[in-house]
Amino acid sequence: MNPWAVYALSGVAMFSVGLVGLFSHQHVVKRILASNIAGSGVLIVLVALARRAPSGVPDPVPHALVLTGIVVSVSSTALGVALARRMARLRADAARASEPPPGSGGEGP
């Protein structure tokens, strides 16, 4: 089997693992991790397919696309993480509002 095919199949498997994780987990951080893994799988498939050139020099266009893809996935991770933080803060605020401890009247942490 060609080396590129090995990596492409590995990427397909990673995508599937990420997909299962994305739908079977409830925790936000786990979901963010799963979407990152699925994304990595897709990117590996793309780069593996770029390796098919008969001359041996890989195709630079998918490489550039994958570079863009990694940066975009980092942006989406950062946005997801910011939303997760917001959720944690709102939940903490709600928990504090429902049972007010003596002495702490502030709303901000």
């Binding site: 590995s10 995508f15 599937s16 799963a34 990595s40 397919l49 050139a53 989406s76 401890p101």
Partner: protein, 309 residues
């Protein structure tokens, strides 16, 4: 030997991915994710994509891992009401197995050798102004992608800030930890040197604005986490300038050819190399600042623990 390495690596990657999602402890999952990212960087190096390996280890693994770890300190480690472990549904697993087989078959059914766009890039590389084909594609042939990518980064940074508008000031006394202070002092010159080198080398080898920006941002993150510096504030002029120089310069360079009868992003040939270098330098500053803006300040004190009156 090569076959063995490729086979083991290709087996380990999905296995590690599965472990990341299976582990019940969230911090353990993040550490495994970082290991997964580093292994995939090795895979990219094996696939002869050194640019991607650099970006993956710096941005995809380093900064993402730090960001996720940092988030765990904000959210509760093991929430009582939600199980961090996934639920099992047999039919879903069956469907995924079927789709995996189908995707695998589709990948294997592709023609085994296809030159792709490589020869086309090679033929026109002289005109792009740079010698490295990936940089030529990123900043000249497919400049749209990079321009829009910067826009995505900016929108994500603004979105992350809009969701969490209150960024806490660090406590001023936390900065004199001798260990982190010394580490930071020793690291910073090397980081600046490596970042500058990566921008310069992007012209003829693997490197460029993203790698350099990520490395600068890494130094910034260390400064942030050791509380030598507060999180960048959108209200400060320096931050706004750093965020806008890259996109504005790039848009200027993209639009300027329109006035001389050329098309958008069609760089004039004798100046293309210089223009690409200047744009990359400006993009490095913007990317470093955006990546730094993703990091929130220090964690607020936990509710109930030593609550101030």
């Amino acid at each position: 030997m090569d076959v063995l390495l490729d086979g083991v690596l290709a087996l380990c990657l999905p296995l590690l991915a599965w472990l990341v999602l299976r582990t019940e402890s969230l911090s353990q999952a993040v550490v495994l994710f970082v290991a997964f990212g580093l292994l995939s960087a090795l895979g990219w190096a094996r696939l002869e994509a050194p640019d991607i390996a650099l970006v993956e280890s710096a941005v995809g693994t380093g900064l993402t891992g730090a960001l996720l770890m940092h988030t765990l300190s904000w959210t509760e480690e093991t929430p009582p009401d939600i199980r961090a472990r996934g639920r099992r549904r047999p039919w879903a697993l069956l469907a995924v197995a079927a789709s995996t087989l189908m995707l695998g078959w589709a990948v294997l059914a592709l023609p085994a050798d296809s030159p792709g766009l490589g020869p086309l890039v090679e033929a026109r590389r002289e005109e792009s102004g740079v010698k490295h084909p990936v940089t030529a594609v990123l900043l000249n042939f497919r400049g749209y992608d990079t321009l829009l990518e910067i826009a995505v980064l900016l929108v994500a940074a603004l979105g992350a800030r809009a969701v969490n508008p209150r960024s806490e000031r660090p406590t001023p006394d936390a900065g004199d930890d001798p260990l982190t202070g010394e580490l930071f002092r020793m690291m910073m010159p090397a980081l600046l040197l490596v970042a500058g080198y990566l921008v310069w080398v992007g012209d003829h080898g693997p490197g460029g604005a993203f790698q350099a920006g990520a490395i600068l941002a890494g130094g910034g993150v260390v400064a942030l986490l050791t509380m030598r510096m507060g999180p960048p504030r959108l209200s400060s002029w320096q931050v706004r300038w750093a965020l806008l120089t890259g996109p504005m310069l790039f848009i200027g360079v993209a639009v300027a050819p329109l006035f001389t009868g050329r098309r958008l992003l069609e760089l004039p040939r004798p100046y293309a190399g210089t223009l690409i270098f200047v744009v990359e330098l400006a993009l490095t500053v913007t990317i470093a600042m955006v990546l730094l803006m993703f990091f929130p300040g220090t964690r607020p004190p936990r509710a109930g623990a030593e609550g101030e009156p």
